[in-house]
């Protein structure tokens, strides 16, 4: 490498500018592809962006932490974006209120299925205890899942990766599953994808319709709430039950 270029690289690789710009560029590229293929769910923009960035980090030997020093400015916006979910929620309030009972029952059924099936399937296939406990909260929004994983004996940062994977899976295949189950109501579609795939599912649901998005946001919030409260006492009990 010519010394001048090397100097530029040394500057760029230590400045937060590069991580931030690369994140936005990767997303622009991913969104362009997504649009080109007519918003086909397999071309999920989160999936493609992460693939581009992971390849770049591995190819250049850049530590994740150094990348995140720049990318954290994007990551930070998750907070205000979560608060902003109150607006579509408010717009759908009349419909939400009329469905309150069924929504609560579906919430409990879906939330337990999400956590216990992840743990059970992982256990059947010989996953380690740390991995199983990182899998259990995989369907709830990242900050809650990381906190829950820490309390039940999982690895919080592995949980973050599993949460995002579950989100991408739901965003990619959610619509196909709903079609197979003959679900045409956007409220049901949104609520199910919010339970199984939290914020990434919610982002996808907003592309289907505002109603689907609002129900997904509600499901994500409620699932986070009951998972945070229930998993720390359910998981030790489940483990004891199957340990013998």
């Amino acid at each position: 490498m010519n010394p001048n270029l090397e100097e530029i690289w040394v500057y760029l690789s230590t400045s937060p500018l590069l991580g931030l710009t690369l994140t936005l560029l990767a997303y622009q590229a991913a969104f362009w592809i997504y649009k080109r293929v007519g918003f086909h769910p397999l071309a999920n923009p989160v999936l493609i962006s992460v693939a581009i960035l992971a390849c770049l980090l591995l190819a250049t030997g850049t530590p994740y932490q150094r990348y995140f020093d720049g990318a954290q400015f994007v990551h930070f916006l998750l907070g205000p974006a979560t608060v902003a979910l109150a607006i579509p929620l408010h717009a759908q309030w009349p419909r939400l209120k009329s469905m309150a009972g069924p929504l609560l029952i579906a919430l409990v059924a879906g939330s337990l299925t999400a956590a216990l099936s992840a743990w059970g399937i992982g256990a059947l296939l010989g996953g380690s205890r740390e991995s199983l406990m990182s899998l259990a909260p995989k369907s709830v929004t990242t900050p809650i899942a990381m906190g829950v994983a820490e309390r039940i004996g999982g690895l919080p940062s592995l949980t973050a990766v599993l949460v995002i994977s579950a989100g991408i899976i739901g965003a990619v295949f959610g619509r196909g599953v709903m079609r197979r189950l003959n679900v045409s109501d956007h409220a049901v579609h949104g609520f199910a994808i919010g339970i199984a795939s939290h914020g990434i599912g919610t982002a996808r649901a907003f592309q289907v319709s505002e109603q689907a998005g609002a129900f997904a946001a509600l499901a994500m919030g409620l699932n986070g709430l009951i998972t945070a409260v229930s998993l720390p006492w359910i998981m030790p009990w489940v483990e004891r039950l199957f340990a013998g």
Binding site: A26, Y27, N44, P45, V46, L53, A54, Y64, F68, V74, H75, L78, G79, P80, T82, V83, A84, L85, A86, I87, L89, H90, W93, S98, M99, I105, A106, G110, S117, I121, G122, A123, S131, L135, S139, T142, G147, V148, A160, V161, L162, I164, S165, A166, I169, G170, V177, M178, V183, D185, H186, V188, A192, A196, G199, I200, A203, S209, G221, A228
Partner: protein, 121 residues
Amino acid sequence: MIAALTLLLVFQLAGEVIARALALPIPGPVIGMALLFLALLIRGGPGEELRQTSGQLLQHLSLLFVPAGTGIVIYGDRIAAEWLPLLVALFLSTFLALAVTALVLKALTHRRTKPTTEAGR
């Protein structure tokens, strides 16, 4: 836009303070969302600026998950060692959660409300 962003951050901040003061296991932004929702119920709805700013933020919600998702590079070794249980559990469990939630909700709401469908893409 700045006023709306400030409002969102104020609610997030209030949520964080409440979560910590009461030692709640729920993240601050989720409490902030609940607080803003209550405020909207009382006020009767968001103003035009808040509606537009939050619409723009939520339109590209996917982007905000990219930095955390890229964390996958740290776990190459563990994922290589345990790829089968992790992958199968992720896929099957996500499908099961989707199906159980949708079927329960569909069965419970089927006769009571008429589904409204909008043109999706």
